[in-house]
Symmetry: C2
Subunit: 177 residues, 2 copies
């Protein structure tokens, strides 16, 4: 495909600029990325579904709760930490509540608010399944990468994440970032 002569000096008629296609090498990088992510995500989802009876995202929610003071977080805060919508979180917490791993509690300060609280039972599930999960992550990722690659991966993904962080997110909750 050839760029039209006007590509660098567009006339008065509005033309869409020539798309900045990916080079061969960029395409290879992008495909490796998508494949790696897809395979890894599926792998961890299956591992956790099998050993903990929940998808990876749900597991991540329990982890965030376990790390929080008093093992509880406001719904909106948890949603932001986990990078999911509040709607999705609502459904997820409903499911985890049915399992007895989380329960909801009203917020005394704000009657609109809800806390998601990790139950003892939920904590126990986490305690029992965490070793298997870390091991899976290690085998799939860290065991295969050199320390330099690990560092590099961290930097790269941090950059990408920062670029996509909704601008307002946590503007008033800066300690979450």
């Amino acid at each position: 495909m050839k760029a039209p002569a006007s590509a660098s000096t567009p006339g008065s008629v509005a033309e869409p600029p020539e798309p900045r296609w990916l080079t061969q090498e960029e395409q290879r990088v992008w495909r490796s990325f998508m494949e790696g992510v897809t395979l890894l995500d599926d792998h961890l989802d299956r591992q956790l579904q099998r050993d903990a009876g929940m998808p990876h995202v749900y597991y991540g929610l329990l982890v965030k709760l376990a790390e929080a003071p008093r093992r509880r977080l406001r719904m909106t805060e948890l949603a932001m930490l986990a990078k999911i919508t509040r709607s999705r979180l609502s459904h997820a917490i409903a499911r985890l509540e049915k399992n007895g791993w989380v329960h909801r509690e009203d917020c005394p300060d704000d009657k609109r608010g809800q806390f998601a609280v990790l139950t003892d039972q939920g904590y126990e599930v986490l305690r029992q399944t965490a070793p298997g999960h870390v091991e899976a992550v290690r085998q799939a990722v860290f065991d295969r990468l050199t320390p330099e690659q690990q560092k590099s991966l961290g930097e790269i993904m941090r950059i990408i994440a920062e670029g996509l962080q909704p601008a307002e997110a946590g503007a008033d909750l800066p300690w979450l970032r």
Copy 2:
């Protein structure tokens, strides 16, 4: 948490080995990774849902078909290329067929077989939406990374993907790898 004295010289009673927990730094890497992936995936899904009326995975299927000889692929082959299950593919193709972007065709050599074929209309959708999609990928990823980081990302994700590739996958279709 302290490792028991027996950790390095286990006695005759079977004990689970002390889990290889992630270090602080490894945790930071892992979280950046998960966050970046989550945000990026959501971002691209929304972009394509808005501009092309389909999720990212479905778009990927059309791309694979467009690149294939005669714009067609056997279901199993396409599933392997896209790293998804055949079941998921069946549903996806059904949906794309309803849109008129793909149609199924019987395989003359193998009466069990089906080809998924990209229609002209499907190709047209791809042609119109590809520029917007590449641009989104560029802005979110390539524009933010140095050439070295891009190269590094490619290597790292290739390593991770290889480690998770089901052993049999494409054993008899080596040219797909």
